[in-house]
Structures are given as structure tokens and as C-alpha cells.
Amino acid sequence: MANLQFDLVSPERRLAQVQATEVQIPGADGDMTAMADHAPTITTLRPGVLTVVHSGGSDAYVVSGGFAEITATGVSVLAEQALPQAEVTQDIYDQMVEDAKAAYGRAQETFKNEPGPVDDAAKLLSDMVAIGGHIGLTAKT
């Protein structure tokens, strides 16, 4: 099977650079799987779990947003914040949920009469909570 070059970079470091067979991306408009010869696409990410399947097995990363650039030969994911799933402890996850909650609270205050930003923040929060289900952690309520 044809491979594609997978890069996962965050502003602080490069997390992964492997030859992958498929990459499952949590896109803003829905999950998608990229394989070789995918149509060139740029999509924003929602907080979620990104899975890379390569010859040595598969890796999962928790990403908190950013965007992905998919071409026929490769996938570059530019994540705002990304961690290998194994490194996400309950503490880190709590912090992420906490941040999302704070952002939601701020949005509610600043944009009282504009539903747009408030809905976005609410979606961010629910995405964050949903990540917990995927990686076996629960959000504190």
C-alpha cells in the first residue's frame, strides 16, 4: 500500500514525522481519514484524538485545535497543542477542560447578544469533554 508522509508539529516542537498508511483526523466538520492520493484539502481541527496508522502499529495523539494540510503524498498537522495520548494524564486533561470552561464563561460574558462565539466556545467545551471518553479519562463536573 502506498504510504504518505505524516508530520505533526506544534509551535514548540515537532512531535512526529513518520511514513503512515492512514491518518484519522478530527476535522471541524467531522472526522476524516486520509490515505495516499487523497484530494488536496485544508481543514481546521476540533479538539479530539488524531490516530496515525503506520507499518509499526498505530499512534494516537490528543490535539486541541489547529489545522491539517492534506495532499496526495502527505499530511501535515499543525496543532496548537498536541500530546501523545499516553502522556495525557488526568491532571493535564482537567487543565484542558478547565481552560475550555473558562473560555466558554468569557464568551458568555463578552458576547451577550451574539450567539456565534458563545456557541463556538460551547462546542469547544463539549469536544473537550468528549475527548475524555476516547482516552479513558473523565471530566470533573
Binding site: 514548540e12 488536496p40 484539502t41 481543514t43 489545522f67 494540510e69 499543525l78
Partner: protein
Amino acid sequence: MPNLKDLKNRIASVKSTRKITKAMQMVAAAKLRRAQDAAESSRPYTERFNAVMAGLAAGSAGSEAAPKLLSGTGSDQVQLLIVMTAERGLCGGFNGNIAKLAKAHAAKLLAEGKTVKVLTVGKKGRDAIKRDLGDHFVGHVDLSAVKRLGYADAQGIAKDVLARFDGEEFDVATIFFARFENVVTQHPTAQQIIPAKFETTEDAEATLYDYEPSEEEILADLLPRGVATAIFSALLENAASEQGARMSAMDNATRNAGEMIDKLTIQYNRSRQAVITNELIEIISGAEAL
């Protein structure tokens, strides 16, 4: 001629100064390596990001619906200067050079009748331009408590800047920082971040992308991140430059202290010899008189 005791004290004091500058130089060298690593590992992100942004921006440039962060507010009357310097001194001309560039830029804008606002990042630069531009200060970001620069720090600054932009406090924002070239060379640089400018690489093959969600939405989502990314890479460059500048400044200081110690030691030996000769003359002439 200073007496022997004074000279001795002087030599001891210069020696301890040399010890301090030597230690600072070595600390700076260790920190420089860390800062350079950090700057290097952020580079792939910045490069990919700018490449994608350049493509997107080229697509929507000139259209009516282009976001303000890209097209500007249609005016350049109010200019925000974000001056990034170090929190500490003793790093040669590093802070001074950035401050000088910012001052020259501000003077030019003021001469053109523009309104200038200054946001400072780092204590030293703030002190350096306070006398000339103190009236134009609108804010200050203190990073002295930050041990290791993270993306979150840049996001904090970006959030502040974007809030001011949304509040229509300024039209154009420019950041001032020193680009790291090597240990002895750092270039003070001015870079305009709002409205965003991207180097358009015309020769790159223009791939036609599908956009999900729409192109406009992605652009609106990414532009604020672009501000944070630009600030983050400027902060990292600055951190590396600061350590590089400090390292070479302290290297010079150590060498100067060494030269000074040699000179003082010679002077000390000469005057000690002069005292001995003097005493001998006194003894001999005393003996002859008998």
C-alpha cells in the same frame, strides 16, 4: 602613585569581577544552546503555517470580504509598536539596538503626523525608550517570571493585541525584536504583523485545495493564530539573541578584566620594587654618613 595596599585591593576586586563575568558567560552559553534549540524546533511549524497562510491570503486578497486582520482597516493613522526586549541587562548592545530602531521608527511616524502607541515586552526596553516615548505607552507585558518561553506566553500577548485591534485602538501593528544570526551578530528587526503580510512564493506549484469548512472561515480562524505564531517566533529569536549578545559581551568583559589585572600587577610590582630601592638607599646613605 597609589600606595601598595590600594593597588592590592584593586587587583583583588578586578579578579572577583572577572570571576563573575566568566560565570555569566558560561551560563549564557548554556542558555543560548537551549534557546537555539527552542527556536529551531518551532521553525517547522512557522514555515508550514506561513506557507498555508500565504496561499490562503493570496486567494482572498483584494476581495471585499477579506478579514480586517489581512486587509487592514483601510487606514494607517494609528500605529502600534510592540517593542520586545530582554528582562535583564548586561547583554551588550542588545536592548539598546532594539530600542534605537523602535525610536527611529516612532520618530519617523510622528513626523508624518501619525499617532503612535507603544506596547513594551521586557523591562529593559521599556526603560530605554521611556524618556522619548513615555507618553505613548499603552501597556507592558512582564515576562520576568517566565522561566521557559511557551506558546502560551505568545498567545497571551497576541490576545491582548487582538483585543486592542477589535476595540479599534490601532490600525497597524509592528513588532520590534532582534533576529538571531549567530553569537556575535543579531539584527534588530521590525516586522509588521497587522495587517498580516506573507511572502508570496509565486514559483511554488499552486495546489488547488478543498477547504473544510469554507476558505473564509479557515482564514478567519487562522489569522489570529498567525499573530500569535509571529509573536512566538519573535520571542524565541529574541531569547536566543539575548543570550548570544550576553555571551559575547561577557567574553569581552572577561578579557578586559584579564588585561587590567596584568597592568595592575605590573604597576604593583614596580611600586613594591621602588619602595625596596628607597629603603636600601636610606640604609646605605645612613651607613655612609657614619
